[in-house]
Structure formats: C-alpha cells, structure tokens
C-alpha cells in the first residue's frame, strides 16, 4: 500500500528525515513511534501529500505522490496533529463539506456523513456547532472527516492526544474496527495504545527509522523480551532467588514488598513466564498475578533510544 524509498526532507539546512525506507502492506495497522521532533509528523505530512519531499520516492497504492498527488489524495484520509475543524460549522455540515471536497457526490454525501458519524458515535452531535464540542468530540470529528470518503489509507497523527481514559479506550476500539476496511498508519506518544492496536511498529529516531517489526520482533532483535511482573505471596528474598535462577532471566528485583503481596520485576531474554510460574509455585509461593508488564513497549523504545544515542 505504501512504499517509501530513501525519503529525505530538509527544512533549510536541517534534515527533518533522512533516507527513510519502509513498506506498509494493504490492511495493516502500523504504529509510528518516536520522540518529539523525531520526524513523525513530517513523514506523515509527506504521505498525506501536504508536504513535498526533498528527495526520495513515496508510492501510495502504486502512485507516486510527487507525480500524481491529486490521485493519491483521493485514496487518503488524513488527520493532522491538530484536527482541521471549522468552528462555526455544524458537525454534519462540516463532514458533508469534507466528503464533497474528497470527491463524494452530492447524492452520496448524506449517507457517507451518517456512516462516519455512526462509526465515531457522533449521530447526536450532527447539528451541534463544532466550537461548542468538548476536546474528545472534536478529536472524533477530526477522525470522522478523515474516513468520510472511505479512503484506502488512513493516516492518523496522534489521534489519542489529549483524550481522557474513557475516550482513549473508545479510540482504541475504533481503530480496531477499522482494521481490514482501511490500511492505517498511526503516530502516537501513547506506546501502550500503539502496542494494543497495531500489527507492526516503525520506530523513528532523529529522522531515521531505527527499527521496524512486531513488538515481539523488536524485543527479540534487542535480545530482551522486556519486563515481566510477578505478584506473589511468600518470602520476598526466596522468591527473588528462585526467579533469578530461571533460565533466560537476566535480572530480577523487588518492586514492592508488603505483608500480603510482593511484586517482582524481572527482565528476561525471552518470554519465560511459564518457567517462572512453575519455579515459584514449586518453591511454595502463592502466585497472585504474572504478566509481561504494561511498559514492555516503553522498555523497547527506551532501549532503542539509548542505543541510538550511543551510536
């Protein structure tokens, strides 16, 4: 769906992105991860045909973005980091305008508006003036305008930024529902969100792609499966000793210890949760909880950032 080759963009003498190479297959949901200023938004704007590259090739559905930007834009739905909303319009009027702008006929526009409002739970807001909407609803309208013309490729720049926890869950569910209907490229600072919604990750650092693959592939390439968190009942010191002896475990530490519960944080080379569980139970500990830790992607990301700085 997307082929990016040697993509470079200069702003003056500064290269915002340098020789990016990646592919995105049709139907994939791909997360674009990177620190502020890493080049995510610049890349997304080039893919969205808003910016022109300094050099390199970008093909969307076989079309070169610099040669056929008009055709490429028909296939794309783009949500920038700030939703492009006309405050004085109603939600329905705005979505109809966006649909017509993207080539939807006047006859089909009302149905498309209704369809996108249904997807984003905006039906009740159809006649509301956009300036009166809460931040969460504004973000939803922003996503609705991006998919109102049923684009093949959906580019979402920070769709969950500024949303409250409930809205984040709703956004996550929406992106899951879009899987299969659209190819989706999402950039986000919320690594946990990316981790839960995306098939694959592209990690960008200082304008360069430093890693790409599934979360497991990234973890494997770094030689770590990230953190495993274990909550148990029993003597903390013994549990620590047992855990450290499990093959594959690199390090184990007591994160929290109380009368009723001890929490261990274990760094392992591979996913060795079954072995850890077995060892602790055999040693007489009562296992309360065992998971990979909410911050696995954070660990990968921090490790990649660290390696990049060192290199």
């Amino acid at each position: 769906m997307i082929e990016v080759r040697e993509l470079t963009k200069y702003f003056g003498a500064r290269a915002a992105i340098r020789e990016l190479n990646f592919d995105i297959r049709p139907g994939e949901v791909v997360g674009f991860v990177g620190l502020n200023g890493a080049g995510k938004t610049t890349t997304l704007k080039i893919l969205g045909c808003v910016l022109l590259p300094s050099s390199g090739q970008v093909r969307v559905d076989g079309l070169e973005v610099t040669a056929e930007p008009h055709e490429v834009r028909r296939k794309i739905g783009f949500l920038p980091d700030v939703p492009p909303l006309y405050d004085e319009m109603t939600v329905g009027g705005y979505l109809a305008f966006a649909a017509r702008l993207r080539g939807v006929s006047g006859r089909d526009a009302p149905a498309r508006v209704q369809e996108s409002e249904d997807k984003l739970a905006l039906r009740d807001m159809h006649d509301e003036i956009i300036s009166t909407l809460s931040y969460g609803y504004r973000q939803r309208v922003g996503v609705a305008q991006a998919l109102v013309h049923r684009p093949r490729l959906l580019i979402l720049d920070e769709p969950a930024a500024g949303l409250d926890p409930v809205q984040i869950v709703e956004m996550r569910n929406l992106i899951r529902r879009l899987r299969g209907e659209h190819t989706v490229l999402i950039s986000s600072h919320f690594l946990a969100e990316i981790s839960q919604t995306c098939d694959r990750l592209l990690v960008i650092q200082a304008g360069e792609i430093v890693a790409q693959g599934t979360e497991e592939e990234l973890a494997a390439s770094l030689g770590t499966a990230g953190e495993i968190e274990v909550a148990l009942r029993g003597p903390a010191a013994t549990a620590l000793e047992v855990a450290r002896k499990v093959p594959g475990v690199l390090d184990a530490q007591i994160a929290h210890s109380a009368a009723h519960e001890t929490v261990l944080k274990i760094r392992a080379r591979e996913d060795c949760r079954p072995e850890i569980a077995r060892a602790l139970v055999l040693a007489g500990h009562q296992l309360l909880r065992l998971d990979r830790g909410a911050s696995r992607l954070e660990s990968i990301f921090i490790e990649l950032s660290h390696r990049e700085r060192l290199s």
Partner: protein, 242 residues
Amino acid sequence: MRATLLIARRELGSYLRTMSGYIIAAAVLLVDGILWNAFALGAQQDKHSAEVLSDFFYFSSGTTMIAAVFLAMRLVAEERQNGTLVLLTSSPVRDREIILGKFFSAFTFLAMVTLATAFMPALIMVNGKLSIGQVAAGYLGLLLLGSAALAIGTLGSALARSQVLAAIISGAMLVGLIVVWLLAAVSERPLNDVFLALALWGRHFPPFQAGVINLRDVAYYLLVTYFALFAATRVLEARRWQ
C-alpha cells in the same frame, strides 16, 4: 470548478455565520454614510447631481479598498493559523482552486456590501436627476477596484503567517500601487507613462466616477486581479516545500 464552488460556498457561509462579515459590512456602510452626508450632501456650494454621484464613488473607492484588505486578510492566513488549511491541502483540490474559491467568496461578499450602498445614490432622486449610466459605470468601477484589491489582499494573506501581518503586507502593496503615480511626476517619459499606467487608482478609477467605461481601465483591473491570484497560487504551491 466544483471544488472552487464548494470552497467559495463554505467561505461565504463563514462570513455570514460569524461576526467578522457583519462587522466589516456595518463599518463600510457607516463610513460611507458619514462621508456621504459630510461631503456629497453637506457641501457649502450647490452641486450638480453628477458631481454628488462622482463624490460618492470617490470616497466609496477608499472604503471598498480598505474593506477588501480586511476581508482578504483572513482567507489563507487564518486557516494557516488555525491549522484548517491542511483539510484543503490534503484533499484532491488544486491550489488554484483553493485560491479561486476563497477569492470568489470574498468578492461576492464585497459585492453584496458595495451594492448595499445603492440607497445613497438613490437619494439623489429626491432633489435631482440620476444618470443610470453613471451609476452603473461607478459601481462597475468599484467592483473592479474591489476585485483587484481583494486579489492583492489574497496574495498578502497567502504570504503571511498571521492575519495582522497579512493586512500589513496587503495594505503596503495597495498603498504602493496607489501612490506609484507620484513617481510619474518626478520622472521623464517613457518611465512616467509606465508609472501612471501602473497606478491602481489615479488614472484608472476617475473615468468610472464620471460614468465613462474605458476598456483599458477594465483590462487593467482584471490583469491586476489575475496576476495577484496567480502569485497567491504560486505562494501556496511553494509552501508545500517548506
């Protein structure tokens, strides 16, 4: 063309849905009304109807140009400031369609405001005679002058990152084009002829005031409009590199 009309319709709606359009319309009518009473009607000596009408078009040309700058300053700069320009630039719409759509909406609004002043010339009929030809020529002149000023304002708006800066740039370009005739007085032929021909107001508007339509003047205003809109389109295209 479809995209141009879509954008124009939305923009026109935005003038009517927000206060800015009404404020500009009210200000133009108020200033025109004051000037009409103070200069056209309130002069000490008696005047012919044609002179009163000519005075009306004289000061209306000033308010039209100022209104054009205020109407145009928001066209691109406001969208860039608010981050809404990306909706247009990421859609299958050509940059010239964006510029034309915005220009047409502002021109339609300016034309509505300009034509709303028609009650002032109509008042001449109370005590005098009204030349329909002079009225038509005067309003055609106002619309052409307004079109050129709006196009220059659109260029200023495309160049600037904020509305205030857009108004300053557009105002500077307009004033430059108006006072260029002063250079004619201090230069020799053929240069002074060029300066006179370029002047936005000095040579090209007075004939309309007097009820005379010269093809040369019509062509001048249309060319200024075309070149300014062409330049604005180029500026928008160039922004895609930045």
